[in-house]
């Protein structure tokens, strides 16, 4: 227990600090409402335009709509960019202090990154739940609302999958952080990974809606576990053995990326260039 204490402290201090940015949360919420609203209207038009294709679709319109609101609500849970704190410490050279602390640098950055993403996602998700889950049905748009999970099993699977998604996203965030530490700038990697994540996490379009020939490949790639798998579990699109497979994939990629990250970190830290003065 004592060994975990500094990391728990690092997590909670970053989490509480980031929760203070209320204006940013409200601005993010407004943005996500706009994108979510446009997407819902476009999906509804497509499903209405081709009833045969809609019937054959692997997700119903109601599932796609709930998926869309959830994806907007949990947007901040995906590693959109390198941890700005790490990028700043690499730029200013204060990364040297992190190396001097009597804790494991990888674990410290990992829990800080997890806290950063979780604290940004929490207020936005709460606002979105009120907006898309309560307000939309109240104003008579219940067809376009965020619905509860269809079964208890789906809810339970989502409850297990969401923390796994955070663990996986944090493991990937660490890879990005390590690239920043090695290249001394966060500009290039942020642009590059942004597009990868928006497409392959399912944020742009639920992965199940891409052409059927791509379905397996899209499910087994690591980004699916950051958002698509938990959301599919929530709407009940993955259940039974499929649900177990999804959770297994998330766990597999989390462990793989952590091992990869630790290995890369050891290499980068051996010849770390410290800027500043």
């Amino acid at each position: 227990m004592d060994a975990a204490r500094p990391y728990l402290a690092a997590f909670s201090s970053r989490f509480l600090l980031m929760l203070q940015y209320r204006a940013a949360a409200i601005a993010g919420f407004a943005t996500q409402c706009w994108w979510g609203g446009i997407k819902v209207m476009i999906y509804a038009a497509f499903f209405a335009a081709a009833p045969a294709a809609a019937a054959a679709s692997p997700m119903t319109l109601a599932q796609v709509i709930t998926y869309t609101w959830l994806a907007q609500a949990l947007l901040a849970l995906t590693p959109w960019s390198a941890d700005p704190e790490v990028a700043l410490s690499v730029r200013t050279g204060s990364v040297a202090f992190d190396r001097l602390r009597p804790v494991d640098t990888y674990s410290l950055w990992y829990v800080r990154g997890a806290a950063w993403m979780a604290s940004r996602a929490l207020p936005r998700a709460a606002l979105m739940l009120v907006g898309a889950g309560l307000v939309l049905p109240l104003v008579g748009l219940s067809d376009w609302a965020w619905k509860p999970p269809p079964t208890l099993a789906a809810a339970a699977a989502f409850a297990i999958s969401l923390p796994l998604a955070l663990a996986l996203s944090s493991a990937f965030l660490m890879i990005v952080n390590i690239i920043v530490a090695a290249t001394l700038t966060d500009r290039g990697v942020n642009v590059l990974f942004n597009s990868l994540i928006i497409v392959f996490s399912g944020n742009l379009l639920p992965l199940a809606l891409y052409p059927d020939w791509a379905r397996t490949a899209l499910l087994v790639q690591p980004f699916a576990g950051m958002m698509d798998i938990p959301l599919r579990l929530y709407v009940g699109q993955l259940s039974g053995t499929g649900a177990l497979l999804g959770l297994g994939l998330q766990a597999f990629w989390t462990v793989t990326l952590i091992l990869l990250g630790r290995w890369a970190m050891a290499r980068v830290m051996r010849r770390l260039e410290v800027q500043g003065g």
Partner: protein, 267 residues
């Protein structure tokens, strides 16, 4: 030196400074090209699964998207100054210096930076536009080319208006309001699909409040030689981009009101 020459001078200085890092400029350009490709990816996947929507095909969507994205890319070349105005000019008090110079503040902000990396977005937008037009069989004529230029000019005016409005708000809020990205980047997302897909209240927002529909949907219908399924009269379709210029004029009213009440943050 007249204003035009001054702008050219500003731009050439900006270009020369960016070309000091040619590798970075080229990579950012390629990055912009690649990241904007994904704008069309979701539309492609949806058409692959559903075939069509209200009679529109992927080619039509490509033309809508190409027109609005070209307008935004062109705007993006010279509006960086307005984009960062709140944080870099009002908050720091640097706007005092701009006011002291014997040229209009708007002109100086246009000269703030000429963003070379936007060529990537422009190239992608034009590519999508002309490939889409070829797929749906648009027969280009001088009239249509002129209409396309007029449409894009209206779009540039509208997006410039949005950026000027964003900068104007900074006189009251001191900070740049990132929420405006919803109307620029989000506007491209909204305007790439025909207005008839949207609920009536959202459609009206895109026609009467932020007239994105007037610089994309209506004139593109004229280019595609399609009547408006929502029943707008035929004469309106090619006239609509004028709304972009009206929006720009209204934005400059807000800008002048903002300058009139500007008080320096000091130091």
């Amino acid at each position: 030196m007249n204003s035009f020459h001054l702008i050219l001078r500003y731009f050439s200085a900006s270009l020369r400074s960016q070309l000091q890092y040619p590798g970075s400029a080229i990579m950012l350009g390629i990055g912009a090209f690649l990241t904007t490709i994904i704008d069309m990816l979701a539309a492609w996947a949806l058409f692959d699964r559903f075939g069509q929507v209200q009679g529109w095909s992927l080619g039509h969507i490509a033309v809508f998207y190409g027109v609005v994205s070209t307008s935004f890319a062109l705007t993006d070349f010279f509006t960086r100054g307005f984009d960062v105005f709140g944080g870099e000019c009002v908050k720091t008090g640097a706007f005092d210096r701009i006011l002291l110079r014997p040229r209009s503040p708007a002109l100086q902000l246009v000269g703030y930076e000429f963003r070379l990396s936007r060529f990537g977005r422009l190239a992608q937008a034009l590519l999508v536009l002309f490939v889409g037009a070829a797929v749906v069989g648009v027969a280009w004529s001088p009239d249509k080319a002129l209409l396309l230029v007029w449409t894009i000019a209206g779009g540039v005016a509208l997006f410039t208006g949005l950026l000027v409005l964003q900068a104007s708000f900074a006189f009251w809020t001191t900070e740049s309001l990132e929420v405006f990205n919803v109307l620029t980047y989000g506007g491209i997302q909204a305007a790439q699909f025909p207005l008839s897909l949207y609920a009536a209240w959202f459609r009206n927002f895109l026609i009467f409040v932020v007239p994105l529909g007037c610089v994309a949907y209506y004139p593109v219908l004229a280019i595609l030689e399609q009547p408006d399924p929502l029943g707008a009269p035929d004469w309106w379709l090619p006239t609509a981009p004028a709304m972009g210029f009206l929006f720009l004029a209204a934005s400059f009213l807000a800008w002048r009101a903002g300058i009139a009440r500007y008080t320096s943050t000091g130091s």
